[in-house]
C-alpha cells in the first residue's frame, strides 16, 4: 500500500533547515541527535518538525532553505522544461516541505506567492513528463525501468494505478504464455518450470 500524503509529510519533517531563534536554550539531547545550544538571533539547524513547532509558538523565525526562493526556482523551472529527463530536485521532499512551511508561516518566505506558483509549475511539468514516461513504458512492454531523481510524492501520486496496471499486464502476458506452452503439448510441470511459477 502506498504511503499517504500525511505519512510523507511525517518523513519530510526529518529534513533539516535553519531557524533564527528568539530564545536562549542550552543543547537539547534528542534521540535524533543533539541540537543547539540556541542563542537568540543566531541561526541554527533543526529538523523541520521542530522548526514548525517553535514557529507556531512564535519562538523563532524560519530561514527558508536556499532552494525555496524565486531566483533558484526560476532557474530550476527552466532546467526542468528544457531537460528531457527528470532533473535532480534540491530535496527529496521538496513539495511536502514547501507545503508544510507555507501552511505555518508564508510570511517568512520572500515572494511567497511567486514561489508557490513556481513550485506548482515545476510539479506540473514533472507530472506531465511522468505521464509520458508511463505511456512509453507500457507501450514498450518493458519489465523494469530506471526512475532516477523522481521524488517520493511523485511516485506516490502515480503508484496506485500505475503499479496495478503493470501487474494486470504482467498477468495477461503470463496467461498468454501459459496457454501457448500448453497448446504446444507441454506437461504442467514443464510449464511451471519454464515460467518459474
Amino acid at each position: 500500500m502506498s504511503p499517504t500524503p500525511e505519512e510523507l509529510e511525517f518523513f519530510a519533517g526529518q529534513e533539516e533547515l535553519e531557524i533564527m531563534p528568539r530564545f536562549d536554550c542550552p543543547t537539547m539531547w534528542l534521540i535524533s541527535g543533539d541540537l543547539g545550544p540556541f542563542k537568540a538571533g543566531i541561526p541554527n539547524k533543526v529538523p523541520l518538525w521542530i522548526a514548525l513547532h517553535l514557529r507556531a509558538q512564535n519562538k523563532c523565525k524560519i530561514i527558508p532553505p536556499p532552494w525555496l526562493s524565486k531566483a533558484y526556482l526560476e532557474q530550476l523551472k527552466e532546467l526542468e522544461i528544457k531537460s528531457p529527463l527528470f532533473t535532480k530536485m534540491p530535496s527529496e521532499h521538496y513539495m511536502a516541505m514547501a507545503k508544510m512551511i507555507f501552511e505555518v508561516c508564508p510570511q517568512d518566505i520572500p515572494d511567497a506567492d511567486c514561489v508557490k506558483l513556481l513550485i506548482k509549475d515545476i510539479w506540473d511539468s514533472r507530472m506531465s513528463k511522468l505521464r509520458t514516461a508511463v505511456l512509453t513504458f507500457i507501450d514498450k512492454g518493458a519489465s523494469w525501468a530506471k526512475v532516477d531523481n523522481l521524488t517520493q510524492l511523485e511516485m506516490c501520486s502515480i503508484r496506485p494505478f500505475f503499479t496495478h496496471s503493470l501487474e494486470q499486464l504482467h498477468r495477461f502476458r503470463k496467461t498468454i504464455q501459459v496457454a501457448r506452452l500448453y497448446s504446444a503439448g507441454n506437461s504442467s510441470e514443464e510449464v511451471r518450470r519454464r515460467l518459474r511459477m
Partner: protein, 235 residues
C-alpha cells in the same frame, strides 16, 4: 534540575535510570550487533517502516531495534519529567517521543494487517519452516496469528458451517487462503551496487545492474531477497 537532564548519556541512550536487568540486556544486544547511535537506530526504523509498508509480503521483524528504541523512549520520558513546565525543551522532547511512538505503532500495525490478510499462508509457512531458520514473526506476532486463526475459524463455524449439511461442514483454509502477490511492481532505491536477473512474463531473462543511488521500478520477485539485506530500499 537542568544539570541532571544534560548529563543524560547520549552515546547509547541508556541513561542512569534503567533498571539493572534491562540495562544489562540492552548492553548485550549492543555487543552482539553493531553499536548504533540513537540517530542511526531511528533512521533504521524509518527505513523499516517504508519497506514494510511497500513490500507485498511480510519482512523479517526488527524486534531488537524496536526494543532498543522503546528503552530509549522510556529513559527519555523519565528524564523529561524532571524538566520545568515552561522549559522550551519539554515540548520538543515530548513531541519527539510521540513521533517515534507513532512510527513504531504504525509499523507494528502494518505488520498485523498483513498477518491478518495472509494468515493461513503465513501459518503454513510457519509450520513448514526449518527450525534453524528465523521466524518471519516475533513471538507476540506468532501468538496473534494463532489466536486470530482460532477466532476466525470458530466464527466461521458458529455463523456458517454448523448450519450446513453435515458433509459440507469442514473448513478448507487452502481454498480461502490468500498469499502476497510477489509479482507486484514497486519503486526502489539502491543503496549497494548489486546485480539481479529479471525474467519477464514470456520467460526471457535479462540481467540488470543496480547502481547505488539509482532508482528503479521493477517487479518485487527478482529483488525480494535484496530488501531484508538492506541492499535496496523501497520508496
Amino acid at each position: 534540575m537542568a544539570g541532571q537532564f544534560e548529563r543524560m548519556d547520549t552515546e547509547n541512550g541508556t541513561g542512569g535510570s534503567a533498571s539493572p536487568d534491562t540495562f544489562g540486556r540492552s548492553d548485550e544486544e549492543a555487543e552482539e550487533t553493531v553499536t548504533m547511535t540513537p540517530r542511526e537506530l531511528l533512521t533504521k526504523l524509518h527505513t523499516a517502516w517504508m519497506n514494510e509498508r511497500l513490500a507485498p509480503d511480510l519482512l523479517p521483524p526488527q524486534i531488537e531495534e524496536i526494543e532498543c528504541m522503546l528503552e530509549l523512549l522510556r529513559n527519555m520520558e523519565v528524564n523529561t519529567a524532571k524538566l520545568e513546565k515552561k522549559d522550551i525543551r519539554l515540548g520538543v522532547h515530548k513531541m519527539e517521543v510521540d513521533r517515534i511512538r507513532y512510527l513504531i505503532s504504525s509499523y507494528l500495525r502494518i505488520r498485523l494487517a498483513k498477518i491478518q490478510e495472509y494468515c493461513w499462508d503465513l501459518q503454513t509457512k510457519e509450520n513448514t519452516r526449518n527450525s534453524q531458520a528465523p521466524s518471519l514473526m516475533s513471538p507476540e506476532e506468532q501468538k496473534f496469528l494463532k489466536e486470530y486463526i482460532e477466532n476466525l475459524e470458530s466464527h466461521l463455524k458458529n455463523m456458517g458451517t454448523q448450519h450446513m449439511p453435515r458433509t459440507m461442514q469442514a473448513l478448507q483454509p487452502q481454498t480461502m487462503s490468500t498469499s502476497s502477490n510477489l509479482d507486484s511492481f514497486l519503486f526502489l532505491r539502491v543503496s549497494q551496487d548489486s546485480s539481479i536477473i529479471v525474467d519477464d512474463a514470456d520467460g526471457r531473462e535479462e540481467e540488470v545492474s543496480l547502481e547505488a543511488g539509482s532508482q528503479h521500478i521493477i517487479r518485487y520477485r527478482p529483488v525480494a531477497k535484496l530488501v531484508p539485506s538492506g541492499s535496496v530500499d523501497l520508496v
